[in-house]
């Protein structure tokens, strides 16, 4: 086969994920899923930001109260968004339709994940009103806020990749949801003293350090300070990549059962 034909062929394989991505993203808006999710997300984040976070009363021109609660409610919202990705496909049998097309499981996993992530990105964009409000009330550090948004998007991606993975484990969406929440929750809690001292008791410093580094909160807080550090980006990137890799293996393993 000529080099040209080979390149052409490879580029078609590469774009299969994009076709899945388009179908999935459009799918959100042809069902009530998108609207329900958007409304709930916007209400919840507003409640936390203004009610519990007291953005207005604190009289500081920052979006810290907005970002600060995101790890908590995304802990439930992202597994909610991810739970249907593979469970539904397996329950309805459409996975057989999908994977007997000339599409690799990896492309399907990436396409579905990226569509859901992009959908969350749209939801996140809709919170820009808060940024505008803070800018109107005072003079916030826009750089810090921008990096905060980036951090939130990355963390949501990590939650979502884990949830997508959990969704491939069972045909039952509720099981996918619960598993997703539990695994995400463990990543959230990796830095609380109880967990840290339990690991520390093993007496291996490197392990304790590694364990601390697994905490979503640690990396997210770094980004919330407005500092973009390679290790935080690499952390979320690697976690998403690893989760999607496992996700692909799970889809292959479980698809016919």
């Amino acid at each position: 086969m000529s080099a040209f034909a080979e390149t052409l062929q490879r580029s078609t394989y590469r774009s299969q994920w994009f076709r899945i991505f388009k179908r999935e993203l459009r799918g959100y808006f042809t069902t009530p899923v998108a609207y329900v999710f958007l409304v709930i997300y916007l209400l919840v984040q507003a409640g936390f930001t203004w009610g519990i976070g007291r953005l207005y009363e604190q009289s500081n021109a920052t979006l810290y109260p907005f970002f600060n609660y995101h790890p908590w409610f995304l802990l439930f919202l992202m597994p909610g968004l991810g739970m249907r990705l593979w469970a539904e496909e397996r329950r309805s049998g459409t996975i057989e339709l999908l994977l007997t097309l000339p599409i690799r499981a990896g492309s399907a996993v990436c396409g579905k994940f990226l569509a859901a992530w992009t959908f969350f990105g749209i939801a996140l964009l809709l919170t820009m009103g808060e940024w505008y409000t803070v800018a109107w009330l005072g003079g916030p550090d826009h750089g810090v806020i921008l990096v905060g948004y980036l951090g939130t998007f990355l963390m949501a991606g990590a939650y979502l990749a884990i949830s997508s993975c959990a969704s491939a484990l069972s045909k039952n969406q509720v099981i996918g949801l619960v598993l997703g929440v539990v695994v995400c929750f463990s990543f959230m809690l990796a830095d609380i003293p109880m967990m840290v001292s339990a690991v520390d008791a093993l007496g291996v410093d490197a392990l304790t350090e590694a364990f601390l580094q697994m905490s979503f909160r640690t990396h997210y807080d770094n980004l919330l300070r407005g500092v973009i550090e390679a290790r935080d980006l690499v952390f979320f990137g690697t976690l998403i990549g690893a989760a999607l890799y496992i996700n692909t293996a799970l889809v292959q393993l479980k698809k016919a059962s």
């Binding site: 299969q16 076709r19 309805s92 459409t94 339709l97 097309l101 000339p102 016919a256």
Partner: protein, 306 residues
């Protein structure tokens, strides 16, 4: 062209498909028969690249499904069991998506979609959500998905299952229309369907191929193939007289003056029976030559295998 080479599948300790080997040539419509749980669907899932075989392999138009899965899948159209479809999509958006994944673009894409749409006659529900469609229409959309890229090989898992008699007839007619030059394999447990649309039949049970031949050859294996059913009046001692005729193996008494004469070999005995009735002066009320019973053959071949 499809070629299965020693295809086997094992789930745990349970061997679902055992060493299945056969070839299907272009122009052939193969009916894949077997009781429930015989391994029909599993075989088809391996052939379409959905399930990896435990051992052996399958070739689609010369492309190994394990080594060149994309090449094999490109040449193959598949209707999975129950025709699963995305409920939120419309036939229009689903076929558009499938066309993209099949690398169809521009005018070719439009032409293929139009052709598939008219072949299965789904123009009337083109913009309706699939979940609102009747079972018959869903099946047709599933068929449109399978044949959209005009594949050389079609694999249809129970294409008429769950449809009403008219829909069944429509789907069979559709398969016959498409069959020219294509290699088609369809699974079913309706024996008459095999005779209606297939040029060849394979029976599997407990994962093993037990019969491979034409539907006619299948029927010829029936005990009652060429048997003569006869109702007469004014016959005394008809049973023993019939049993004494040349070529007759035995006579069943189906009712009063109602007999079934079973042949000893494959040769027709209807002439011998009617000639005798005429000479003996019986009043013949009913004569019927039995073509053979497919369900008898099916039971005989598959029983004791599960």
């Amino acid at each position: 062209m499809i070629e299965l080479r020693n295809l086997s599948k094992q789930f745990g300790t349970h061997r679902v498909v055992r060493d299945v080997t056969f070839r299907v040539e272009p122009g052939e419509v193969l009916g894949f028969l077997g009781p429930n749980g015989a391994g029909k669907s599993t075989t088809m899932k391996m052939l379409t690249g959905f399930l990896p075989p435990t051992s052996g392999t399958a070739l689609v138009c010369g492309h190994d499904i394990l080594r060149e899965p994309d090449e094999a899948k490109r040449r193959l159209g598949y209707l999975p069991e129950g025709a699963p479809l995305y409920p939120d999509m419309t036939p229009a958006s689903l076929l558009g998506f499938i066309a993209q994944t099949r690398d169809l673009t521009g005018s070719t894409k439009r032409a293929r979609i139009d052709e598939a749409c008219s072949l299965v006659d789904i123009g009337g529900v083109w913009r309706q959500r699939i979940e609102t469609l009747s079972k018959g229409f869903k099946r047709r959309v599933g068929l449109a998905v399978a044949l959209l890229h005009d594949p050389d090989v079609l694999v249809l898992d129970e294409p008429t299952d769950g449809l009403d008699p008219n829909q069944k007839r429509d789907v069979r007619a559709l398969i016959q229309r498409m069959s020219a030059g294509k290699t088609i394999i369809l699974s079913t447990h309706i024996l008459e369907e095999v005779e209606a649309v297939c040029t060849r039949s394979i029976i599997i049970a407990a994962g093993k191929v037990l019969f491979d031949g034409s539907p006619t050859a299948l029927r010829e294996r029936s005990r009652t193939h060429q048997a003569v059913e006869l109702r007469v009046q004014g016959a005394r001692d008809a049973r023993s007289q019939l049993a004494g005729l040349p070529g007759v193996a035995s006579v069943d008494e189906l009712g009063e003056d109602h007999y079934r004469v079973l042949p000893a070999g494959k040769d027709p005995i209807v002439r011998a029976v009617t000639d005798h009735a005429y000479q003996a002066g019986w009043q013949v009320e009913h004569v019927h030559v039995d073509p053979g019973r497919l369900d008898d053959v099916f039971a005989e071949i598959t029983e004791g295998q599960a």
